[in-house]
């Protein structure tokens, strides 16, 4: 596989048997992952976000491989995907930061919204630790989806779902 150009490898990855396709992907990944990672790290200046984005970029490469045409340079194509993923990430973060800043200016309102939404009049968010509070705010005030929260917390959707529902149950029981 080392003797093939990236464009040829992409054709093998698109069309050949699963075994050959994986070998081709492995080679493409070996050649380009460090470049893409450096680009992402340089732009978002955060190791965890860059790692998360690198994963997304290569998953997108896999999911869109049938759209690739060998008249394009593979490197250009993969960087277009990286840039798009980066923009999506910035947009999602910008929305989140704007909401948090808005809430930070009106802390009383945040508590009112949560208590009115679900938890009854005795809710005191200050009794929660930082992560728990943030989790509830994201879910019930910012109304982020579990998928978006999973990205921000770097946890799986399933475990976040469990943590939030456990918190809500504990709240209802008055254990928090």
């Amino acid at each position: 596989m080392k003797n093939y150009s990236a464009e040829d490898l992409m054709v093998i990855y698109q069309q050949k048997s699963p075994e050959l396709a994986f070998l081709a992907f492995e080679e493409l990944y070996r050649r380009f992952s460090a470049k893409v990672f450096s680009f992402l790290l340089k732009k978002c200046k955060n190791q965890a976000d860059a790692e998360d984005l690198l994963q997304k970029v290569f998953i997108k490469v896999h999911e869109s491989k049938h759209l690739y045409q060998d008249k394009y340079k593979f490197e250009q194509w993969v960087f277009v995907i990286a840039r798009t993923s980066l923009l999506d990430h910035f947009r999602a973060n910008k929305r989140y930061v704007a909401r948090v800043e808005k809430l930070a200016q009106r802390p009383d309102e945040a508590e009112t919204v949560v208590s009115a939404a679900d938890y009854g009049p005795d809710l005191d968010l200050k009794r929660l630790d930082e992560d728990q509070r943030e989790m509830l705010e994201m879910k019930y005030i910012d109304q982020l989806s579990y998928q978006e929260m999973a990205r921000l917390f770097n946890k799986s959707e399933g475990s976040l779902r469990k943590m939030v529902s456990r918190l809500v149950i504990n709240f209802r029981k008055g254990e928090v």
């Binding site: 698109q14 069309q15 050949k16 048997s17 699963p18 396709a21 994986f22 992907f25 492995e26 990944y29 992952s33 460090a34 470049k35 990672f37 450096s38 790290l41 790692e51 690198l54 994963q55 290569f58 998953i59 896999h62 049938h66």
Partner: protein, 156 residues
């Protein structure tokens, strides 16, 4: 240049590997489920089978019979499995179809044997009337349509 953490490399590569190699048991179960659905639909309009819930003027069997009874057997068998393969081409993911293409004979056998199974279960007498040509039609129809369909999707 910044180095990607080794753990992340492994994670991405194993993720892609598992996508490229879908679980064959689950894949064949999906194919079977698709075949059950399309078989019920096909048999519900087939005049020969005797269920014919929907009576239509479109009678493919008559068209096949005009050519010859042998051709009718062959074409009916092929049609029965081809509808399932075409549905599978629309429903399954590209990675699943690629894996299926590399198990083409096994997929064709699965569709043919399950077709024989349906007919025996639903109407054993009917099955006895079917000839060897119907089974050949089933096998050839599924094998060729899967080969052609995945070739159109550019898998080789």
């Amino acid at each position: 240049m910044n180095q990607v953490p080794n753990q992340l490399n492994q994670k991405i590569l194993s993720d892609i590997k598992s996508r490229l190699h879908p679980d064959l048991k689950i894949l064949f179960l999906k194919l079977f489920a698709i075949h059950v659905t399309t078989a019920v639909a096909t048999l519900s309009v087939c005049p020969q089978f005797g269920v014919a819930i929907f009576r239509t003027n479109l009678n493919l069997m008559d068209v096949f019979m005009k050519i010859s009874p042998q051709f009718c057997d062959l074409a009916c068998g092929a049609f029965f499995t081809m509808v399932s393969v075409l549905s599978a081409l629309l429903i399954l993911s590209r990675d699943e179809l690629r894996a299926l293409r590399h198990q083409q004979l096994l997929a064709a056998l699965t569709l043919t044997l399950s077709s024989i199974g349906f007919l025996i279960m639903l109407n054993p007498q009917m099955f006895v009337q079917f000839t060897f040509l119907w089974v050949v039609g089933c096998l050839a129809g599924s094998f060729l349509s899967l080969g052609l369909g995945t070739r159109v999707l550019k898998f080789s």
